[in-house]
Amino acid sequence: MRHAAVRWATALLASSWVVSLVVAATGAGATTTGSGAHPPVLKAGAFDPPRQAPEFDLRGSNGGELNISQYRGKVVLLAFGFTSCTAVCPTTLNTFAVARRKLAAAAADVQVVYITVDPERDDVARLKKYLGSFDPTFVGGTGTEQQLAAVRKDYGVSAQKQVLGDSYTYAHSSFTYLIDRNGRIRALMPYGHSPDDYVHDVTLLLKE
């Protein structure tokens, strides 16, 4: 009788030990629900330390040269795409347009720059017409295939041409760079975020 009691006690102790181990190993070892030492401030993915946005020299849909440095003092939303894109680009550009409207007067310090990955079809006139349908302040950039490939490489953007019968499309990176007033790449907003998320992040960057 005494032996049985000892065995039961040992077994129960062992059980509690196993249970504690399993539960502690899977999410009950700490009681903090916060985000640790670095609480997320921006909704977008933030770079630390931020790097200077690589310079480029393209033809702008506003009729002049397009450089990233010409927008120092503004927060820039930089995206890559092509005007024949039916999925990602219209959604992203519409999101920018809505965000700018929500920003009201502060939108004067926000510049959307959209660089094409399809120089064959996207000339200056086409970019201007396309972007104007979302917001007349948006500026597009185009150049030679080599120039645009160099810009994509500098920013880590991918674009693969895919032939579809007698036409073609592009699979391209769908995120947006958030560049602060000092021309530094501060964050990367993945595709699908709401205008409110952009308003949130842009407002924070404008306040700096």
Partner: protein, 142 residues
């Protein structure tokens, strides 16, 4: 002998039941919400010498409120495409998620050319917590 076996059976059943009960009813917390992946120094050199170096899995599982921030760090000496972005040496990238969904990013670091991040909602029921803990346990053995 039979009595001994019965005892073992009872103990095992008790362990399983106790584990399920505790795993199901203990809230899931985490000391840090960061899920960190690092490119160590020398990775580029190893790749150049022909080593196959896998740092970032092509599927990453995150859980809202528990571990919902993806942190990528490039500690190598050259810029690297890491997940969705180009990262300079010494740079880190911190991407929070606040919606449960499956996110796909183009990623040249993977043979498939893309990386998928599955963000799950916070397990709110006992069964969901048991499932979550089971998956966590299994992932530690992978």
């Amino acid at each position: 002998m039979t009595r001994g076996r019965s005892l073992v059976g009872l103990v095992l059943a008790a362990v399983v039941l106790l584990t399920c009960a505790v795993a199901g009813f203990t809230p899931i917390h985490s000391a840090s919400q960061d899920r960190i992946f690092t490119i160590p120094k020398g990775t580029w050199a190893r790749r150049m010498s022909g080593d196959k170096v896998d740092i970032l899995p092509d599927h990453i599982r995150l859980t809202l409120g528990v571990q919902d921030i993806l942190v990528l760090r490039n500690q190598d000496e050259v810029p690297q495409i890491f997940g969705p972005t180009l990262m300079m040496p010494g740079q880190s990238f911190r991407l929070p998620f606040d919606r449960a969904a499956e996110y796909t990013f183009a990623c040249t670091a993977h043979a498939s050319g893309q990386m998928t991040i599955v963000v799950e909602s916070n397990p709110s029921t006992a069964w969901a917590r048991i499932r979550w803990r089971l998956l966590e346990l299994l992932s530690t053995f992978r």
